[in-house]
């Protein structure tokens, strides 16, 4: 019974992730792609003539089918992981309904999985970044992501532990402050990466990064709302009938 609930939530999480991925794809195509193209234009104008490589995948495929593949798989994969985390969070975070738990989890995931690593190692368009340091940059980015997620989980546990003595409000404030302090230390001690070419247009870089952030906000916001709705209907079918029954009971 409970195992079936986990399976049902997982399936719904992946479906909600796919839906969220579709919306994120629209944002990525209309807001993100123009900046990718401008950055590639900059790259082409600055590359020495002999460095023009043979295209394995054409630009028109990269910016449509390739982009869709990546964003949709990302949505489904994070949808599945978030659904599994949700199974664990359900009933353990406090007095939240299934729908509220989903949106809360989704908001925290946006922060921990994306925003916190992004503030230290922001997304970079083509032409930014030295190919020789790709290994180091990937390691640092994933390290920052894992660290941020682990610290967010630790802060949540800390908040739950402090709640009986401090009360929910101050326990939450203390847990968030501890998270911010730990992240601040990580920001201070992890190495700085800045490989933006000196003459790279600042507006293109800014718009690229804002569009990258918009993609994630769309993805996690949609996921939280859609998955919350699906989970609420799965776990509490009754409140829906009670709500529809209310106007009938009103005249008495």
């Amino acid at each position: 019974m409970n195992s079936a609930t986990v399976r049902n939530l997982l399936v719904r999480g992946m479906l909600a992730g796919l839906g969220a991925g579709l919306l994120a794809l629209i944002v990525a195509y209309f807001l993100g792609e123009p900046n990718v193209d401008k950055a590639i234009g900059f790259e082409a104008a600055h590359a020495p003539a002999h460095e023009h490589e043979v295209e394995l995948v054409s630009r028109s495929l990269q910016s449509t089918a390739g982009l869709a593949t990546g964003v949709l798989i990302y949505g489904v994969a994070f949808g599945g992981i978030a659904a599994l985390a949700y199974c664990f969070a359900l009933g353990r975070l406090g007095r939240f309904t299934p729908r509220a738990t989903a949106l809360l989890l989704s908001g925290c995931a946006l922060l921990a999985v994306y925003v916190v690593p992004f503030l230290k190692y922001p997304a970079n368009p083509p032409a930014v970044g030295n190919g020789d340091t790709i290994g180091k940059r990937t390691t640092l980015y994933l390290l920052m992501m894992v660290l941020s997620v682990l610290l967010a989980v630790a802060a949540t546990i800390l908040g739950k532990r402090l709640a009986p003595s401090l009360g929910t409000w101050y326990a939450t404030v203390a847990a968030v402050a501890a998270f911010a302090l730990a992240i601040g230390l990580a920001y201070a001690f992890l190495p700085v990466v800045n490989e933006v070419p000196g003459d790279f247009p600042a507006t293109v870089l800014w718009r690229f990064r804002v569009s990258a952030l918009a993609i994630q906000i769309t993805l996690w916001g949609t996921f939280g709302l859609v998955f919350g709705e699906l989970a609420e209907r799965l776990l509490h079918p009754k409140p829906v009938t009670a709500a529809t029954a209310r106007p009938v009971a009103a005249p008495h």
């Binding site: 409970n2 195992s3 609930t5 986990v6 997982l10 993100g32 792609e33 990718v36 394995l56 995948v57 990269q62 390739g66 982009l67 869709a68 593949t69 990546g70 964003v71 798989i73 990302y74 489904v76 994969a77 994070f78 599945g80 992981i81 599994l84 199974c87 664990f88 359900l90 009933g91 007095r95 939240f96 309904t97 738990t101 994306y114 690593p117 190692y121 922001p122 997304a123 970079n124 368009p125 083509p126 970044g129 190919g131 790709i134 940059r137 990937t138 390691t139 980015y141 690229f208 569009s211 990258a212 993609i215 994630q216 509490h236 009670a242 709500a243 209310r246 009971a249 009103a250 008495h252």
Partner: protein
């Protein structure tokens, strides 16, 4: 106001039951790993490390990798 008093069960917040860890664990392990493998192929394959030789995976998800925030090249 009257109808709120008449139906107190509707306004009571419904706290969902906890799912036992032993029911979550098998799903979390199997699908957790599967999802991470998918993320690896979108985010890092043929960049920092390569399981499949060549550049096709990298080139295919190139734009997604940039826009999703992963270091690409």
């Amino acid at each position: 106001m009257a109808q709120h008093v008449a139906s107190p069960t509707v306004t009571t917040p419904v706290v969902p039951a906890k799912l036992p860890l032993k029911d979550i664990a098998p799903w979390a392990v199997f699908f957790g790993v599967l999802m991470l493998v998918l993320l690896y192929f979108v985010g890092a394959e043929q960049g920092a490390t390569s399981v499949v030789s060549g550049e096709d995976v990298h080139e295919w998800v190139h734009d997604a990798r940039h826009l999703l925030g992963f270091p690409c090249h």
